[in-house]
Assembly symmetry: C2
Homo-oligomer: 257 residues x 2
């Protein structure tokens, strides 16, 4: 059987340890092509570069002997360039994004470059998974989760995903034997409580720097946050149709104002 | 009765004609505060600035005599700064974003800074509306749609929206008398067919520039694209919960692999 073509990207940049771990797993399962940002692109959400040029350079130093490219654009740009410039007629069987350094559970999905890249792939008809480990540090331990990451990729390669669907996978930062398994769940209704640090730059000009804390009041046991707090890997099926179908009826009266 | 507090932002930047038209309508309905990007931020999606400082300056030249600020960040940054730095304890009754120069119908919502700003406001518990006119030109005619924009804002001020909900409103570029009314609809399942222009910069280095064409194969008559093609204003209720609830059941078997 021909080896499946696997596209790998991320938002922490091509040199991040997280993408290296993902590539190592992917290599065991298929032919890997990497198109990743040439610099960190965290928090870029679904941004695309439309008002300026994008650079794309082969870089086989980072992943020796593999087909890999670094891109000056956002994670979503990487997927678009991968599809239309790098791969062209070679259709990837799956797109993997990550492994992100830090959580993309709950509402984080909408800010996340990692997950937006996966969503862009799903728009292109490519089944996709965004992986995140709940450890923001550069030297996080990505080894423990590898068997789970591999199982999930194998499952999707075999079974596919609903059209337009992607998986948002968050992994607790625990040794392998302490991870209890995988839970399929919904996105918790949690949010960020923002705070802005206000300070002056060296020239005496005021600036703001975004910070904040994550706050979850959604205590049901079918959410990604619950799964993570209970030492499970959280697997959330996500999608790009943002229509609030429940609200369609209520709003109907707008048609007559 | 006290006048409602109305927060206005956009993604085309504080000097764009579209935000001026929206402010003119909003002024008739309440007390307006403007926090908008100091430069165009189209295609920024839900990007936030986390790895660098953000500037925020009062600018009362563009909107004389009004409380207005220009911000160096993304549209989502503008909403966060508006809420936490500018307004603080003053709770806006509504957030309006736009009027965007160009369509944000269908899948465009996920790339759009205009709609991401509205979505961020909805996350903060503020009812919000993103407006877009189907005319990309700088000197588009924003007068024709003003009566509809006003009616819709009034309706939301009076009736509110479901929690976490926002409206994605797209307006055909037609004279007032040719607009047939408003249709409440779902997001059409359409997409972009990307193309990249490949060229060399003045130094002989290759670059890519994203372009493409919008493609819709979703021909049902309950979509935003249908409404717009039939001279209606399309009103789509949207939300930030990206969970694909239908896929939860199919995926359940992942828990046992």
């Amino acid at each position: 059987m021909e080896k499946p073509l696997i596209l790998v990207t991320n938002d922490d940049g091509i040199t991040a340890p997280g993408i290296r771990a993902l590539v190592e797993v992917a290599q065991e399962l298929g032919e890997v092509v990497i198109v990743a940002p040439d610099a960190p692109q965290s928090g870029m959400g679904h941004a695309i570069t439309i008002s300026g040029p994008i650079r794309l350079h082969p870089n086989e130093r980072v992943f020796e002997g593999m087909e890999s490219y670094e891109c000056s654009g956002t994670p979503v740009d990487c997927v678009k360039l991968a599809k239309h410039v790098v791969l062209k007629d070679r259709a990837p069987a799956i797109c993997l994004s990550g492994i992100n350094h830090g959580s993309n559970a709950s509402i984080n999905i909408i800010y996340s470059g990692t997950l937006s890249a996966a969503m862009e792939a799903s728009l292109e008809g490519i089944p996709s998974i965004g992986f995140s480990l709940l450890d923001y540090s550069h030297d996080a331990d990505f080894e423990s989760c590898k068997p789970y990451v591999k199982q999930l990729i194998e499952w999707v390669l075999e079974n596919g995903l609903d059209e337009g669907s992607l998986l948002n996978v968050n992994i607790p930062a625990l040794p392998y034997e302490q991870i209890k398994g995988m839970r399929v769940c919904r996105q918790a209704d949690a949010r960020w409580i923002e705070e802005f640090t206000e300070a002056e730059d060296p020239r005496g000009q005021k600036y703001y720097w975004l910070t904040g804390r994550f706050s979850n009041d959604d205590n049901a046991n079918d959410t990604d946050i619950w799964a993570l707090e209970n030492d499970y890997i959280a697997v959330v099926p996500s999608m790009h149709d943002l229509t609030n179908y429940r609200a369609l009826k209520t709003l109907k009266q707008v048609e007559t104002i």
